[in-house]
Structures are given as C-alpha cells and as structure tokens.
C-alpha cells in the first residue's frame, strides 16, 4: 500500500499536530506559572497573617556582626548586603583557586595512571580510590582537625626568618603594600605576554615555512619578566613590604590564610581532583591506541604524540564532564560552614538569624550558586566549542 502523502506544513489548522503541540505547551507553561504564583502569593499571605515580616529591604540595614576574614574592607556598621557580598567573594575565592589547583592535580594524577612506572601507577590508583570514596564533609573535618590540632598556638607560631609564620591562627607571609607602581607592573607583564605571543606566532610561521624550530619559551618568558620590571620602575618602584609580626594573641600583617580557608581549599581540591583524574583518564583512553602508534610512525617524540595527537582529541571528551566537576567543587564549598569558614552560606545563615528573613536568605543563597554555576558552565561551553571537532 502506498504511504499517505506528507502533510503540507504550511497549511494551518487547529487540528494540525503543530497547533496541538503549541496548545499543550502553552497550557503546561500556564499551569507552572499559576502554581508558582499561587505558592508565592499564599506564602506571602500567610506570613502576613502571622506577623512575619518579609521583603528585601533588610539588605540595606546595618549588619552589626563582624566577619573573621574578608577580601574587601568591611566593618560591622555596613549593610547586610555588603556582608553578603563579602561572603560571595569568600566563596569565589575558594572556588577559583580550588578549580585551578584541582585541574593541575587532577591532570597529573590522571596522566600518572598511564605511567610506565608501576609505583606511580599504583599510587595514583590508590589516591583516586581513597579520596573519591570518602564523603567530602568528613574530609573537610579531618583536614580542619589536622590544622588546628597539629599546629602550635599563635602565641608560639612556627616561624621562618621572622617572615613566614604558621600556627593555629593560620599561615602568614610577607606581601608588598599595594601601590600605583604595582598596577604599572601588571600592565608591563600584560605587554610582555603580548610580545611573547607575537614571537611565538613568528616562530610557528617560520617552522611551517622552513621546518626549522626554535625554543618557544625563552624569549616570551624574558619579555614578560622584563616588561614587568620596566613597568614597576616606571611606576616609581614601590618597595614597601608588609611583614607579619608576632603579637600577644596573633600574628598580624602581611597576607594570611586562616586554617578554615586552608582546610576548605585542601579538602575540596583533594576530593575533586580524584574525580578529575578519572575524567582525564577516560578522555585519554578514548583516543585509540592506533593514533599513538601512527604518530610514533611519523617520528613524533612521546611528548609530541601526547601534545599534538592525543590531548587535542582527548580534550573533547574531557571538557563536558570536567565542567561538572568544577560545578561540584563550587557547590561543595558550601560545606565550609561546618568548619567556620565565612562563605556566603555562613553569612546568609547569620543574616537569616539576625533579620528573620528565612525565605529571602535561602533565595539569595540559591541565586548566588545558580549564577556562579551558570557562569562557570557558560565559560566551559565556550571553551568546549573551541576545542570541538571543526567539521567542514
């Protein structure tokens, strides 16, 4: 029997499949919106009846509580909004530094599982199995306990040449006092990176034209360091350093990392790196061994095989699950509240208690994590598109 002729898509009818589809979608959307609206209205209504105050106006009121570690200037007479912002920055600090360190450690461990050395292979395997199978909260508590039990009290900090101090109060080290010269220095370093990039393009062009290769690292590194120095000198050559010093109950000055911060960072990095290592291993294994052999037959060295043939293909497999791990790290940082690190959850908890605005504070926490997660995945999706196979 002959199949019926396909429907003409342009012919509009209420009985067409397209129209029905549209109708169902509209109805579903309406139902969801109505449900959400009803929930919001009812909550509002009942809170009013019970005399529970609501709204986001409290964000402008003075917070009144102090925060142990802040990246920006903060004092208790400033607003709840400012306090929450301090918390957001503290969360981002853990997340950003954590993601960088996790990537480095995870890739090392992941590649280590292909090592020809049985000991390295075994250690990497053991690392992955140990750390990914112990709950993260337990690991955080363990690291925190390690920092506060083992280290000496701040009155008797371990110190190295009166410059570096390590104690239960944290790790302090000298830091330059910020001046205009440092901005110039940064600008100089950026210019150096530009020069280095231009140099490497030239070397690449020459290599492709003549087959002659030159060292690709020496000149760019020299350019970065040199330009930074020039910028620093042009900016008035600031030399003032803030050096930590021992006070009665603490070590003050310089820059410092509290044991809470260190425990959160170390715990998250070590935990997440075990997952990243598996992602990397899977990515590398997905490139068939024939590719490596073919590259070898072309005369590429083992490093070149990895860098030019295997990794570019493995990255396509690695990036999407790696993004998941980055998101996990960011979200797991909310467990920091258990060991006293003032992240956004901790600050929001305090705010919730002082102001009584439970619904609002939970909404803020959700919004913050939603924004950071969406931001991270947007960035990673962009990178994923770049390394994806370009099919022509």
């Amino acid at each position: 029997m002959k199949a019926p002729a396909p429907q003409n898509k342009r012919a509009w009818s209420w009985r067409s499949r397209a129209a029905r589809g549209l109708l169902y979608q509209a109805l579903a959307l309406l139902a969801v919106a109505a449900g959400a609206g009803f929930l919001a209205y009812n909550t509002q209504q009942n809170m009013q009846v019970r005399g529970i105050q609501s709204g986001f106006d409290f964000l402008g009121q003075a917070a009144g509580f102090d925060i142990g570690e802040t990246m920006i200037a903060y004092d208790p007479s400033q607003s709840y909004g400012r306090a929450l912002w301090v918390g957001v920055l503290n969360t981002l600090r853990v997340a950003v530094i954590g993601i960088v360190l996790t990537t480095v450690l995870g890739v090392l461990i992941g590649v280590g599982r292909f090592s020809s050395n049985a000991l390295v292979r075994g250690l990497c395997y053991g690392y992955v199995e140990l750390f990914r199978n112990v709950p993260i909260l337990l690991q955080l508590l363990m690291w925190y306990l390690f920092f506060v039990e083992v280290l000496p009290p701040p009155q008797a900090a371990w110190n190295l040449a009166d410059l570096f101090f390590l104690s239960k109060g944290g790790f302090s080290l000298p830091a330059p006092v910020w001046g205009v010269g440092h901005a110039w220095m940064g600008a100089g370093a950026l210019a150096g990176i530009g020069i280095g990039w231009w140099w490497r393009r030239r070397v690449q062009a020459q290599f492709e034209a003549t087959g002659q290769d030159r060292n690709r690292w020496a000149v760019p590194s020299l350019a970065v360091v040199g330009m930074a120095l020039v910028g620093w000198a042009a900016g008035g050559a600031p030399t003032k350093w803030s050096v930590p010093e021992q006070l009665a109950f603490m070590v003050d000055g310089g820059i410092s990392a509290t044991p809470e911060f260190m425990a959160v960072l170390v715990g998250l990095v070590i935990y997440t790196a075990s997952f990243v290592a598996e992602v990397v291993r899977g990515g590398i294994q997905s490139v068939s061994h024939g590719q490596t052999e073919a590259a070898g037959a072309l005369g590429l060295s083992r490093r070149q095989q990895m860098r030019l043939v295997v990794l570019p293909q493995a990255l396509r497999v690695i990036i999407p699950p790696l993004t998941n791990q980055y998101l996990n790290l960011t979200k797991n940082s909310s467990l920091a509240v258990a060991i006293g690190y003032p992240d956004v959850v901790s600050i929001a908890n305090t705010t919730l208690n002082q102001s009584g605005r439970a619904v609002e504070c939970i909404a803020i926490i959700m919004l913050v994590y939603l924004c950071t997660s969406l931001g991270t995945s947007a960035l990673m999706n962009w990178y994923n598109k770049r390394v994806a196979i370009m099919e022509r």
């Binding site: 929930l39 009942n46 109950f249 060991i339 305090t350 208690n353």
Partner: protein, 346 residues
C-alpha cells in the same frame, strides 16, 4: 549535609506549611495539642547540659525540658506527653513559625526584633543570663578587656555574634570571630586551641566547661558580662488561649516557690494549708483559677507535682551542687534579692 538538607527542608516547609494551614483563629494550636495527645517542644541540639540535654537513654532533662513537662502536665494532665524536637540555633524560629513545634523552650534570648518580626510571642523569662567569655587559664587573662586582637570562637545564629561585635567595637579590641554552624564545632575548635576564647551566655559557658572540658579547672570564665540575655520560651502567634496558658504555667512555677510549695509537700499543703494564696494555686478551695484559662482547678498543682517549683528546678539542673555549679544570683526570687517576679496568680 543532613543539617543543610533539613534547613532547606524547613524553608520549604515554611512555604508548604503556610499553604496547608488556614489563617489563625483562637484555640487552634491548643486544639491540635489536645487532639494529638502530645506537646511538641523545641529543645537544644546538640544539647546543653542543665537546660536541655538527652542522656544515654535518650531521656531529656534540664530547665528548658522541665518547662515543657510542666506545660504538658497543665494541658494534657501528664508530664510525659511531650515530644522533643532538637533544634539548632538557626532552625528554631522557622520550626516554630511553620508549626513543626508548639513551644520553643531552648534557652532563647528575648529581644525586640525577635518578638516583633518573627511571628512569635515570648512567654516570659525563666533565666536571666548574660554573655561572657571563657579562656584557657594558661593565657593568664583576668579581664575581657585584655583580649585585644584575640580570635574568638562563636556559634552562628545567636545574639552572641552581635554582642561580641558591639563589645569589641566599643572597647576597640579588634577581636576576630570564627563562626561555626554547630555549637560542638565551636567548642571543639576552642578546646583544640584554634581560638583564644569562646563566648556564649555565661550559663552555657559553665555548662560547656563542666561537661565538655577535659579538665574544667584549666579554663576560666571572665568576670565581664557583656550583654543582657533574658532567656525564655516562646510560642507561635495566632492562639491567644495557648499563649495565656504558657505564660501562666511559668508564673505558677515561680509563685509556687514564693509560697514554699515543693514537689514533695504539694499534696500535704493542698490538704492542710489555710493560706488563701496556696489554696488558690493548688486548687484546694472554692476559687477556680483554671476556669478563665479554659482549664480545670488543679492545673498548677499538676505542674508543681510534675517538675517542682522554679527553685527546685534550678537546684536540680544548674545549681551549685551540680557539675554546672551556677550561683542563684539574679535568678533568685524578687524577695531574695533576685529578679524573678511573677504576676499574682489570682
């Protein structure tokens, strides 16, 4: 993780609970308690010895707990008909607002903001407290004013954080707070030496020192009290009848001490006493103080029989003879130089 989930769940519960219940009319909470046959009482998590703490058999005891037992005896006729719901500092008000508990009896400070904006009523004061500092003896500190630049461990979700900040600013001490979600994490960090000082209400300090310190004598509680902390139970708004009963249960326990009625002699005094005040309180004469509260005549008698008068509770749980060893001080009756003063039960 569990903690976090339960807090989120509470937030959601507030929304759903708000959805499920109809707007308030008088008597609904009281009705719910009676039909349930149990009073749900919010107590301290993880437990604060002397106020509300569970023993190894899971039996709750302490001053906070005694209040709930008295209230259950008044309403349900049986002090054992209490269901305990352990709450952290952060969960407590949400749990009360959402109807998860009937009464919050968890050494909670009565402040204007809490009274006016959280949808709760404070029933009264059963303990006059103040915030203090505990430090290791080895620091050789004798006054909180010497704690310049010190790191201080503190639990989040309490008035403690604000008082600490105020005190530090007023005296230019630049103290650094390390804020923990759970009390045991805060005290654990203090005992490990992360902080030079731990701060909370003086009663809490005494309780922690007595029960958690490896050697209680190694720690001193500094003499400064930096805040007023009137602790008392609270109930949800919307049921004035229940609020009144909760209020007068507390007053009755105080007045019992004034009249010298104890758990032991209540029966005998009920039989023999010719003092009209005693007779009124115990429901011995013809006067019926319970009627206006919607209760029977012997409501206060049952409360006293169940937990004893206020002074007895104090001595039993936190007094000088216990491990906590608090002096009666401001918590004495008004006619003994303290602040405890109950409006007349008549």
């Amino acid at each position: 993780m569990n903690q976090k989930l339960s807090r989120l769940a509470l937030g959601a519960l507030l929304a759903v609970g708000a959805l499920a219940t109809v707007p308030a009319h008088a008597g609904k909470d009281l009705e719910a308690i009676k039909s349930r046959g149990a009073l749900v009482c919010g107590v301290h998590s993880p437990g604060l010895a002397g106020f509300s703490a569970a023993d190894s058999q899971g039996k709750w005891a302490g001053m906070d707990v005694d209040y709930c037992r008295a209230l259950a005896a008044v309403i349900l006729g049986d002090a054992n008909k209490v269901r305990y719901s352990p709450l952290t500092a952060q969960q407590r008000f949400t749990a009360l607002q959402s109807g998860e508990i009937d009464v919050l009896s968890r050494n909670t400070t009565w402040t204007l903001t809490r009274d006016a904006s959280l949808g709760v009523h404070f029933v009264g004061v059963y303990f006059y407290d103040g915030q203090g500092f505990m430090v290791p003896k080895s620091l050789k500190v004798t006054s909180a004013k010497q704690l310049k630049g010190a790191t201080v461990c503190v639990q989040s979700g309490t008035t403690t954080e604000l008082n600490l900040t105020d005190y530090s600013r007023a005296n230019n001490l630049q103290m650094k707070p390390v804020v923990f979600e759970k009390q045991e994490a805060a005290t654990g960090a203090y005992f490990a030496g992360r902080c030079q000082s731990y701060t909370t209400d003086a009663s809490g300090l005494a309780s922690t020192r007595g029960k958690e310190a490896a050697k209680p004598d190694d720690h001193v509680i500094l003499p400064e009290l930096i805040s007023k902390e009137p602790l008392g139970p609270s109930v949800r708004r919307g049921d004035d009848d229940f609020f009144a009963i909760a209020k007068w249960t507390l007053n009755a326990l105080l007045e019992a001490e004034e009249y010298g009625i104890t758990q032991a002699n209540a029966d005998q005094m009920k039989k023999d006493s010719k003092n009209p005040g005693v007779m009124r309180l115990l429901g011995a004469g013809t006067e019926d103080t319970g009627k206006v509260l919607g209760l029977d005549k012997e409501w206060a008698y049952r409360a006293i029989k169940a937990v004893g008068n206020y002074g007895e509770q104090f001595e039993r749980h936190v007094g000088p003879k216990t491990a906590i060893g608090l002096p009666r001080g401001t918590n004495n009756l008004w006619n003994n130089g303290g602040l405890m003063y109950a409006p007349p039960v008549r």
